[in-house]
Symmetry: C2
Subunit: 118 residues, 2 copies
């Protein structure tokens, strides 16, 4: 992992053959792992579920932080991870930034992992 070249565009939905179909190339494995890492934190999993629950108009940081009992700086950090993995999108409305989940990115990830395409 020290050898991780961070220069991969992770904002687009991952696109490679399912994990169970054949041995993944190094680069594909890295692409999958980077997205998984973005999601592999209890706070971020909960964030995703909150955003899905909130629906189309999105939720702002100032509402998420107290719900998670975390500082706004910390929540902002987590949202950045999710955004850089393409799992979330934020749009500014006035002074607020509203975050919405990106189901396509999550679907793409799920498709790579799912062994029951068998």
């Amino acid at each position: 992992m020290p050898k991780a070249l961070p220069l991969l565009d992770t904002t687009e939905p991952v696109c490679c053959a399912p994990l169970a179909v054949g041995v993944l190339a190094d680069e594909d494995a890295l692409a999958v792992a980077l997205r998984l890492k973005a999601l592999a934190d209890p706070v971020r999993v909960q964030l995703m579920s909150m955003l899905f629950a909130a629906g189309e108009h999105g939720v702002c940081t100032c509402e998420l932080a107290p719900a998670l009992r975390l500082s706004e700086a910390t929540v902002s950090h987590h949202l950045r991870q999710l955004r850089e993995a393409g799992l979330v999108e934020g749009t500014r409305k006035g002074t607020n930034v509203f975050y919405r989940p990106q189901p396509d990115a999550l679907c793409a990830l799920v498709r790579v992992l799912d062994p029951t395409c068998c």
Copy 2:
């Protein structure tokens, strides 16, 4: 994450409502995150794909290590992570330990993540 209580049985397939259906409880989010973390590494993603590709009889550490160009100690460490997350099972045959993937655990994880049960 510093507050992670490691005392959760992660060897069983995760079981909770899909992420997109409602806000996850702290404990459920942790359960999901722990499994994701087990998979959120390029080496482990590649390991899983190798095990799936190898099929029913499994693959031993001594065969995986050179294929990944890593020491056996490191591969053993990664296999342990996967085993503790229930994603992999190892059975001893003579001096070798053969590892096989556990599709049920992966399916359960995928089911929680998949937003297209919608």
